[in-house]
Symmetry: none
Subunit: 210 residues, 4 copies
């Protein structure tokens, strides 16, 4: 009962179709949420028949799980690169920028994740409790050190991280609203946001004068 997607050595077609399906699933899931999406929609978007799609994946759940799993790595990558030996303010601002770029370049991934968390993270709670929390704890410690050494202002590292996530992902997750409000300037949200957020966080991080 070896399923194609599970075998170690995949054929070219298998890889292609798997990618095709995951790409289609991302489009659909990020738009309608898990429950709101149908396999039909995904199959359609992928240009496959429903049974053919199910030849590659065991079901809706598995597609979703695979999507989220592969996403989490990418999602955490920017935080991982936060370097404790680098310049603190620069490091954090760099993180903000990278997150903002991700919101621009991978808005659907962001919405997929947001959808999941919004509904209580039923399917990724383990990964949040494990890898994600560990990474955040680690980097929070780095930030705390910087603050203790006076290299940055005395901020709570967790709330700092939350605010970075929130402000950057907002442009992807709530794009429907942002677009309407920015009106004709919506297409250039990125530059405005970067400029604003850079100022915001520079200010927040600048160490108090001695």
């Amino acid at each position: 009962m070896a399923r194609a997607a599970a075998s170690k050595s995949q054929t070219r077609i298998q890889r292609e179709k798997t990618e095709q399906i995951l790409a289609a699933a991302l489009v659909v899931f990020s738009k309608y949420g898990f429950r709101g999406s149908t396999i039909d929609q995904i199959a359609n978007e992928a240009g496959l028949s429903k049974p053919n799609l199910l030849y590659y994946f065991d079901g809706k759940d598995e597609i979703h799980a695979r999507l989220l799993a592969r996403m989490l790595d990418t999602w955490l990558a920017p935080l991982r690169t936060l370097d404790e030996t680098g310049d603190p303010v620069e490091e954090i601002l760099g993180y903000v920028t990278r997150k903002l770029e991700m919101a621009r370049d991978y808005p659907r991934e962001s919405r997929l994740f947001a959808n999941e968390i919004l509904q209580g993270a039923p399917r990724v709670i383990d990964q949040i409790k494990g890898p994600l929390k560990n990474l955040v704890d680690e980097k929070a410690e780095v930030i705390r050190h910087w603050a203790a050494e006076g290299k940055i202002a005395d901020v709570d590292p967790y709330h700092l991280i939350f605010s970075i996530w929130a402000t950057t992902q907002h442009y992807a997750d709530f794009n429907a609203q942002v677009s309407v409000i920015l009106g004709p300037r919506a297409d250039d949200w990125f530059d405005g946001a970067r400029s604003y957020l850079t100022k915001l966080f520079i200010c927040a991080l600048r160490p108090a004068k001695a």
Copy 2:
């Protein structure tokens, strides 16, 4: 086939049941999203039979629409109170605090709204384009004036508002994640968040020294 909900003069019972249903719908919709929720769940939560629920509302769509409609007012209230004659920094910080309180006191409402926007706001796009945008434009103008007059720092008012929304609602919308990351301190997120955000925005708004 006069439906209760349509008639102008509702009896007390009608009003009560309507409230009961909307309250139940909020619980369910905010948890599972629109498509993920079933009328059965809502009826159950409301303690009514499904047909009885549908006596008061034309259907799932209508319940959802009514819920969002009534919420939007509440949702925008804090921004409405932003007083152009008040102290700029105080006004904005007050707005931040009120939004944070709403995230604490009405997390389900926040998630309901977030769910809707996330999926492209299909059912509230009109209200976003109308009342919401108008209000934001109006208050953005106020903020711009403050900035022009040097009463606050020179920030883009729209991105400022986005950042306030994002940072405050984050605690409601992404609560599943916040809880895990804060661990045992999760219950007290409010104080930590208020303290952090107050500092963040004070700093961002403090006018540059002349």
Copy 3:
């Protein structure tokens, strides 16, 4: 989520439909086996729509389970009446006759049960290990006593019981074959079988001459 079939106080309609469905399910399951039967067939046989049928039962499994459960009692009734204070040979012959009557009067029930056991009893194994085994053990003990006291021949009570089950149920379970082989006399199989089996078991049970 209270399902009709589960509530304690059923309406007349509920009882009727439930019976209707179980009767239809017996016809279908006994003919095609569990996997070979479809809800469509049962609904059709019952004169109901499929969703309506599923309004009364949670699914195919539940229908099958309910059928088997209610049947087991009936099925074991004849053995239960085996009276240790009665005349041994008469008691056992009476049991044979009652089992044969059941094969005549409830052939579909017999086949339903046979089907289940044949496939390893996946859904009734617990009831076999429990109530059925207990009852058989109890009655086997009775028979053993009779044999020990010389009231019947020295037979293994378990194999005796097996042979009674086998020979009587054969007429129901393998009716398709029996009918063909008996040809025109098939309709009267009962009398022939009773006569034959009576002789068979009288002979087997008659205590050896002292």
Copy 4:
């Protein structure tokens, strides 16, 4: 589209694969019944790919048909050996023993057959009406002669045969039940059954004293 299975002269490989498939099909069909078995299961059990399996057989139906066809011969073999020139009681007891050995050695074959008959013998009805009935009629005639000549008791030969079939096959067909009821002694059912059945049928056949 010459199919392997149809061609007269099969290569060694073809014969081997055919056997492999039939062996696998026996395992699966006897366990789950015809409808409950899938080609996937059979292919898996046979260690072949599904399309490859279907290269050798036209479909599920054909595999099943072939299996039953080849089985029927084996199945009837013991009865065929019933020799009218032999000692009547010995011949019949020998038949009982051989049937019991088959129940022990080929329980899956027995269950496959039982499954089929239980469901009305849709796929073997012709062979039952033909070869099987003919053989039974022939041997019944032999038995009747023996009875008429007073060599055995005056029993109905058809019901005698039924009872032999029933009592012996019971151990294979209803093994799930037998095992539970015999408990720890289940592994040795054969000796107990042979001893019991031998006594049972000796007694039934012993001619009445003159």
